[in-house]
């Protein structure tokens, strides 16, 4: 009886592929020889849809890309359109956007910690992380009436002003999140099983990460200090002082630590933004029928999953000629094959989880 490798099909209905993703695994007993992701199960033809909507009507659709961080998608798109149309965003609006974007990063990373731990078996951490995230979602609900698909950031600014009770509520939540995180850290940080499953797993060196075009926390875990908020600042991020957490050897454990570090930094940024909230309009005056002269603009932001970029091309009408989205999870997922080779089958779940991909923004 000759031993041969066989290919294993994981997904598109699989408990831990974070959405409809199918992985074709070439496996030798339990050791992974190759991973080939198959995409398209959640393809809704967003870019085609966008070509027949006005610039404003595209914003609610960008929520559905990375549905765990809808505000970042809105911010990315709106900044690109403002750059194209030359719209000047008032100071207060820029600060409100920073508060919202960082709260969204907080919620996205909390959701990630929950999914990641649950994939590796620590199911209680999922509930603790989501309980902390609930408070952030309640803020969003009070701010713009929705919890997940917010479109709270519009072309020219934000949908509403940050009034005093809401600011007080945000500060209260910022105080509570770290306690729930202490529970999570106590359960995971030094736990031998967690370290056994994450230290040295899915290792990717800095050079490889750059070669693969990796961005976001996964790249910073390999020690490469690229963060759009620092390198190409936007929406007055350079007014705030915060660090960029870095990892040393780019394994799943470092990605875990980097994301937890980023949660702490986001809290710091939101506090500074709230303290220094300038007066003025919460949004610029933007005509309801927005016509933009023919041109093209490309702009990137640091979304929770990585560098999110939009290319918007206008043709003088009120509808965009073409909107192309650079999705961080799409590019990061390409590196999955390089990360999983030689590891065990159950590590693929851990590595996939550590990349924090969302199928909504991969399949568009």
């Amino acid at each position: 009886m000759e031993l041969r490798e066989y290919d294993l099909n994981m997904g598109p209905q699989h408990p831990s592929t974070h959405g409809v993703l199918r992985l074709k695994l070439a496996v030798d007993n339990e050791v992974v020889l190759g991973v080939e992701p198959v995409l398209g199960y959640l393809h809704r033809g967003m870019e085609k849809l966008w070509e027949s909507l006005t610039y404003h009507q595209v914003v609610p659709l960008t929520d559905r890309l990375d549905y765990l961080a809808s505000l970042s998608n809105n911010l990315g798109y709106c900044l690109t359109v403002e750059k194209l149309a030359g719209i000047e965003v008032p100071g207060r609006a820029r600060y409100i956007r920073v508060v919202l974007a960082e709260l969204q990063r907080l919620a996205s990373h909390l959701a990630w910690v929950g999914f990641m731990a649950n994939d590796i078996g620590a199911m209680s951490v999922l509930l603790y992380a989501f309980e902390a995230r609930e408070d952030v979602l309640d803020i969003f609900e009070e701010y713009c009436g929705a919890r997940l698909t917010l479109h709270g950031i519009r072309i020219g600014g934000a949908v509403r002003d940050l009034d005093a009770p809401l600011v007080a509520r945000i500060r209260a939540v910022l105080g509570k999140v770290p306690d729930r995180l202490d529970d999570v850290r106590a359960l995971l940080d030094e736990n031998r099983i967690w370290k056994e499953r994450t230290v040295g797993v899915g290792r990717l060196s800095g050079a490889d990460a750059v070669a693969h075009g990796l961005t976001g926390p996964a790249l910073r875990a390999s020690g490469v200090p690229w963060d759009m908020r620092k390198d190409i600042p936007y929406s007055s991020y350079d007014d705030f002082d915060f660090e960029v957490p870095l990892g040393a050897n780019g394994d799943v454990y470092d990605r875990y630590l980097v994301r937890l570090g980023e949660i702490g930094q986001s809290i710091r940024i939101v506090r500074q933004a709230l303290d220094g909230l300038p007066d003025g309009e919460f949004a610029a005056k933007v005509p309801r029928v927005l016509k933009i002269a023919p041109g093209e603009a490309f702009h990137t932001i640091e979304a929770p999953k990585g560098v999110l970029g939009f290319t918007v091309r206008s043709n003088g009408t009120d509808k965009p000629e073409r909107v192309k989205m650079r999705s961080p999870s799409f590019i990061n997922l390409q590196a999955l094959d390089a990360m999983c080779r030689g590891y065990m089958f159950s590590d693929v779940i851990g590595i996939l989880g550590s990349l924090d991909i969302v199928l909504g923004e991969i399949d568009k």
Partner: protein
């Protein structure tokens, strides 16, 4: 967004280097919103990318975007394939544009930038742009037996063969 003059000189230097090294290739170079935008002849793409990555330090290919100029004035090629490059640290942005006629192909960037693999597959799936030297050029979103390329301007919106 502060634009310091240093950005410009950095990009100027690159424009001169490009026009110097590839005389025939560079058709036009322009500065829009502190980005250098260069139009290239598609044949020279691979060598220009190689030069930019190795010597000019553009270590990240951020995006490959394709535009369908159906009916627009652009005579020589229906599709404009735009490569967005970026240099870290220093965060310099570069836009390389190459025009491709329908059904024609252009050299693939995969040998230079690993992350061009899926981006090229998406461009092929959505527009039908062919890439030479691409390791595995097949559809990425659409099912393999899908005919047509959805993001083309002339793709019927109300469904085909009886709105199926």
């Amino acid at each position: 967004m502060p634009e310091d003059a240093a950005d410009r000189t950095g990009l100027d230097g690159i424009l001169e280097a490009l026009t110097g090294r590839f005389p025939g290739a560079v058709l036009a170079g322009a500065f829009e919103r502190n980005e250098l935008s260069v139009r290239l002849a598609k044949e020279s793409l691979a060598s220009v990318l190689r030069f930019l990555k190795d010597e000019a330090g553009f270590n990240a290919l951020e995006d490959i975007a394709v535009f369908d100029n159906l009916g627009a004035a652009g005579g020589d090629g229906r599709f404009t394939v735009v490569y967005r490059l970026c240099r870290f640290p220093g965060a310099l942005r570069l836009r390389l544009a190459a025009d491709v006629a329908e059904g024609a192909s252009l050299p693939s960037a995969v040998p230079v930038y690993r992350s061009a693999d899926w981006a090229a597959r998406e461009a092929f799936d959505m527009f039908g742009v062919l890439f030479d030297g691409h390791p595995d050029l097949r559809r990425i979103y659409m099912p393999d037996d899908f005919e047509g390329h959805p993001l083309r301007k002339d793709f019927p919106l109300a469904g085909r063969n009886g709105g199926a």
